[in-house]
Symmetry: C2
Subunit: 431 residues, 2 copies
């Protein structure tokens, strides 16, 4: 066997702790599969004094994480600090410049700086491995970049945020509202005290930008991602979705369209009998569609110490074997110059729940607005007549419609005298 | 870019034709991702005269496939002839001996000779890539061997035969019987004229033997696979499964137990709300469970020209990049000496449908037999009373039971005077 691969680990939070444990518990198995030992040589974290209960004996403590890049006893740097800027980025750049392979779980950094980092890495001939940055333990980066490498990818989408999926699953099974379920999720540790990063869709959008870059061989383009979170999803919509044969999921979707690459994160209705509709709780799932392979799906835990460490150490094994492909799967010079397609050009079916008073002529007004925008209605559901002058739940499902037309129609409907609130709209994703 | 990788292709059936088309249609994309061109240099098939409508210009025709191994214009051999013995095996061995990387879709050959071939390949320092041998377009070999490489795998199981899954799905949605649906599947081309290889579970068992070898780093052990097909599944069982909250799937399962590695292919009931229960039609799915990553699932098309070619060409790209791991992910010397656990030691819950006449005391007799075998009943369903002396459908679900005890109980029940046929038993797989 060759000399051990010596790891410098930056970050000892949930993920870093998982990596330390995994390297210690499976040292033999890892050595067999890597063809050499992988050992923790040095570790760094913000607070040295914090009690951690980790098998850190034998690892040198380093106060300044960035110094791992230059350390002579470190062959590969693992960055699990997080954050798009700051120490994580400084360390990453320093490691690459020092010629050290980098393993990172940092989706925010890759979403914002992935292309520049890949360019630097290519210039230095250094691999960047990032399996843990998207969908935790699911080996989706490997699947897209290697397993499906012979395909032209047309769409990649998935459930990329476990917190949102947990909340939506709970809302669905219990019939409770968003705020209620969020509080419970926070109490159980499934949601952060400040949940906005997750429930507003930012985290999923970071991951989507990375996936889309790899899938379409196109520079990562976070600023082009249309982002909506799940705060506006109401219990009543989950009920209607069920009646219509759908489930509501927060999906992150990147798609090749006639006008370019579309990237969007928003609540979606998906067919209730599809496999992805049954990916529940904190599980993540990614669907990748290629022209030869057709549809493939990958499911697993998207977060947590074990699954994320599994991905980080798989990357370390690839580094040890010398088999990490370029970050995008192709060289930087070969990245494609495909434009981003703006959200207003999105085309698909829509679910719309009207918030209108039950007055004569209201539905006719709504129908006229839709007709004027060339929006064609596939079905309309009205549960029961309300008392005259009260709000009545009316739900529409449209045929394929362009987003711009839908947004104009929604504004016009909201402006009707009978409207007591803006309509609730949820896009339907066709599988 | 380096020199092109020159492919010698043996077999121009469905899979071989797909490979030819894929290499031609995506030549540029493949070159970018492989870091060099991959070109079809030579091809061979049984019948040169057959009309194929494939872009074979530029490829040299070879009458004797085995000669591809020694051909000076071939860098890598693709074997998509099939069959455990004969030309496929002779060519494979010759290619390895000649120092040429081999890409194969041949599950039968690997299931029976995989360990010997891996030993030969290791001695010659030649890679064997076999992504297309299991689950068609799903990159499951890569996921198990690389993506989950940091895990100790506890169980790997899945839907590995699209024909069986199509038949069971049709039986479920239409309520029709096996024979009826099989005829239709044959007419549609989803089942062979002689369907036994698929419906009797042999094909799934070959794939399972390969998956289990890779997952558990243990010599492939096809003879240890317990195999039952789907001929005995009746429409009434599919109905009862639904009532009990299950779906029936033909699963191939390999599991690490206290007594060794268990490998089995048989109809299974799985929870109706699980994602794998919704993998329908000709789709395949594999679930892999590791100690750090927890449960992961992979879904896609398990057969067909496009998906299988996608897997073959992904392997070729790995060969071009020089990143194919050893067949088992570890060296031959490191394969584990874990015994095979015999089927009689299997433990799990069982579904049993009795075929007994509705006579006083029959249920008591059955209950006594189960009690004597220490089999505990979780639930019992009796739909309606039959007329006295007629058969009555009685269904039992047991708690965890050992297979040996269950088999003894089933024999004893079949021997009761009131039994008009042996009970129907379907194992329940817990997720």
């Amino acid at each position: 066997m060759s000399a051990p691969l010596r790891v410098g680990l930056a970050g000892l939070g949930t993920v870093g702790g998982g990596v330390v444990r995994l390297l210690a518990e499976h040292a033999d198995l890892i050595a067999e599969r890597a063809g050499r030992s992988i050992v923790l040589a040095a570790a760094s974290a913000r607070d040295k004094a914090r009690k951690r209960d980790l098998p850190l004996d034998g690892a040198r403590w380093v106060d300044d994480a960035v110094s791992l890049a230059a350390a002579s006893d470190v062959d590969v740097v693992v960055e699990v600090i997080g954050g798009a800027e700051g120490v994580a980025k400084t360390l990453t750049e320093a490691a690459i410049v020092a010629g050290k392979p980098l393993v990172t779980a940092n989706k925010a950094m890759l979403a914002l700086h992935g292309t520049a980092l890949a360019r630097l890495a290519e210039a230095k001939g250094v691999p960047i491995a990032c399996e843990a940055a998207v969908a935790g333990g699911i080996p989706i980066v490997k699947a897209l970049r290697e397993g499906l490498a012979a395909n032209r990818i047309s769409r990649v989408f998935g459930i990329l945020n476990g917190t949102c999926n947990y909340i939506l699953t709970q809302m669905q099974t219990s019939g409770r509202g968003f705020a209620d379920v969020l509080s419970e999720a926070q109490a159980l540790g499934y949601a952060e005290a400040d949940p906005s990063f997750d429930v507003d869709g930012i985290d999923a959008a970071h991951k989507l930008a990375v996936l889309a870059g790899i899938a379409f061989n196109r520079p990562m383009d976070f600023s082009a991602v249309h982002i909506e979170g799940i705060r506006a999803v109401e219990a009543v919509d989950i009920e209607y979705a069920r009646d219509l044969g759908y489930r509501i999921k927060l999906l992150a979707i990147a798609r090749r369209t006639a006008t370019g690459i579309e990237q969007r994160v928003h609540p979606c209705m998906v067919a209730a009998d599809s496999a992805i509709a049954h990916v529940d709780g904190v599980f993540n799932a990614v669907v990748a569609e290629g022209d030869f392979v057709d549809r493939t799906m990958y499911v697993g835990r998207g977060a947590g110490a074990g699954p994320t460490a599994s991905a980080v150490v798989a990357d370390l094994i690839d580094v040890a074997r010398g088999r990490v492909p370029p970050l995008f799967g192709v060289g930087i010079a070969r990245l494609a110059d495909i434009p981003a397609s703006p959200m207003r050009r999105h085309v698909g079916p829509y679910y719309v729940r009207l918030n209108v008073l039950d007055r004569p002529g209201v539905i006719a007004d709504v129908a006229a607005i839709l007709r004027d925008e060339n929006i064609s209605i596939e079905s309309m559901l009205q549960r029961a007549r309300a008392l005259s002058g009260e709000a009545v739940p009316v739900v529409l499902v449209t045929h394929e419609t362009e987003e711009a037309a839908m947004q104009r129609a929604l504004s016009a409907i909201a402006g009707l005298p009978a409207s007591i609130a803006a309509p609730c709209m949820i896009r339907i994703e066709q599988l």
